[in-house]
Amino acid sequence: MYLRDIISFSLRASLGYPVRTFLMLLAMAIGVGSVVILSTLGEGARRYVIGQFSNLGTNLIIVLPGRSETVGGPPPLLGITPRDLTLDDAMALRRSSSIRHVAPLTVGAAPVSAEGRQRETTILGSTPSLLPLRQLEMAQGRFLPEGDPTRAAPICVLGYEIKAELFGAAPAVGESVRIGDRRFRIIGVLSDKGESVGMDMGDIVIVPVASAQALFNVSSLFRVMIEASDRDAIGRAKEAIAAIIRERHDGEDDVTIVTQDAILATFDRIFVALTLTVAGIAAISLGVAGILIMNVMLIAVSQRRSEVGLLKAIGAPGNRILTLFLVEAAILSLVGAAFGLILATAGTWVLGRVFPDFPLFMPLWSLAAAVGVALSTGLVFGVLPARRAARLDPVQSLSRR
């Protein structure tokens, strides 16, 4: 039997029962469509987050106190408590030519009050380098002035949210606020642009790092943010940071150095896993479609008993019957998958219209995977009915009308 004849026989057999064929196509189309749409959403979300992280500042390196890796082997005999990361450590890092900006960070929470209103807010102690490093923008006034970072000064910069809550629409620059039990003069307000993932830059007060240390009575830093001089310098900058800190900490490697690339890679992995998960959940609907296909094919086989008996009587072996029914299931799955892709394209287009800001991206692998899964479900769930047809006893199938 020619392949062409096998295909046209199976195709016409499925067209002979339009209702069941339509149902199968619908089930397949919905399954394939939801796999593709959900992975499109997942991939879009991944790209969105990665994009946001790239906004965070380029060539970013973060130094945290303490080692984060847990290394195997026996615990040290003498308990080594990690040394604090100090402001002097941070300033020493400026030595390296691979490093452009160094912004030490001290973080705490304190009540901030002005004009009789009070709010508990995050207080961030840093240096002028934070502005370019986090790509912040000023709405009014100016950012922290250059100067000796170890000198405290009673000045602060407000995030736009806290400014609005304390002062409303009234100008805030030049006014003063009370943070804890100290007074600070407001020299600037951040704009609501330049906000980036990882920290809410609206509800925040930025003060010189030494002032924050005095306020919270600490000598250590929360972390140090560093911008390498360019992308290629990231590796060298990391080595330089490690060497400088080691030298200052009596030869101990007691800090963790994280690069933006590493963070991005982690997020990338998380989102790929997430996308695969939702696509996998959607694939369950393909399984449901498969079961529907099996049922409909089983009905088809019993409807076509006498046809199968006849085919055997005029010389078709059981294997040929099996092939014919499997090809029928495969054709239905593929056509259903094609409709599913059309459905997904239409759905994506509509989503793009409704949420124009959300980056939708239809990943090619999801198209291939959806069609592949559709075809294999069709075949897997088509096997049982096809085998039943192939095993029909011709005498019995022909004895009834």
Binding site: M1, F9, S306, L310, I314, G315
Partner: protein, 222 residues
């Protein structure tokens, strides 16, 4: 040439064994015209199904053209059905979604015959059977007699040497039944071995050899 020796066929109905054929011996020469007759349940259809390789005997040997077919597999038996045996049924068994011409073409499609040759042979057969103006009709648009003619055309399109017809006129009125018998006898006169099962004594008389079955045995063979 068909040779049956000691053929037995039993069915299990519930816990009971029903013997449909008991120790049947039969030799049929090429070109014979045989009518198989007998009361209902005497094993006529079962005999025909075994000769047509739709069913397997439980015991005995069956030689088709000198070849023992009892040990053949599904594939080889299917090939023999395709090339050596044609079937005509009481209920026609045309594929409802196919036109008359397509039903006639079906055995050749299964046999993998080239499309251009298929077309030629279908056209010739349709002419020979006088169904030219009905070739594009579906079975439900045909009369019983026309359907059975299409079915016979389908049975002989592969040029088998034996045609098995199980009550081919059982579902037809006298006139179209007569026409169908004429077609079958015409095919027989051209050398085709014809074995029909019938309840109609007049029809039986026309056959060159009458086999009467009772209770799974051949009672008389003249």
């Amino acid at each position: 040439m068909i040779t049956l020796a000691g053929i037995c066929r039993e069915f299990m109905v519930g816990d009971e064994r029903v013997a449909a054929l008991r120790d049947v011996d039969l030799t049929i020469a090429t070109g014979e015209y045989i009518a198989v007759m007998g009361p209902s349940g005497s094993g006529k259809s079962t005999l025909l199904n075994i000769i047509g390789l739709l069913d397997r005997p439980d015991a005995g040997t069956y030689l088709l053209d000198g070849e023992d077919i009892t040990g053949l597999g599904d594939r080889q038996q299917a090939a023999l059905r395709r090339h050596k045996i044609g079937f005509v049924f009481q209920f026609f068994h045309l594929v409802p979604r196919m036109t008359a011409a397509e039903n006639i073409e079906l055995p050749m499609i299964l046999a993998g015959i080239d499309p251009s040759e298929r077309k030629q042979r279908v056209a010739a057969t349709i002419d020979a059977f006088g169904i030219g103006n009905r070739a594009r009709h579906r079975p439900d648009q045909l009369s019983g007699g026309q359907r059975q003619r299409v079915a016979i055309a389908r049975a002989v399109i592969m040029q088998p040497h034996t045609l098995l017809a199980d009550e081919p006129t059982g579902n037809l009125d006298r006139v179209s039944g007569g026409e169908v018998v004429e077609i079958l006898e015409d095919l027989n006169s051209r050398g085709l071995t014809l074995i029909t099962v019938t309840h109609d004594p007049d029809l039986g008389k026309r056959a060159g050899r009458r086999i009467r079955m009772v209770d799974g045995r051949i009672e008389s063979d003249r």
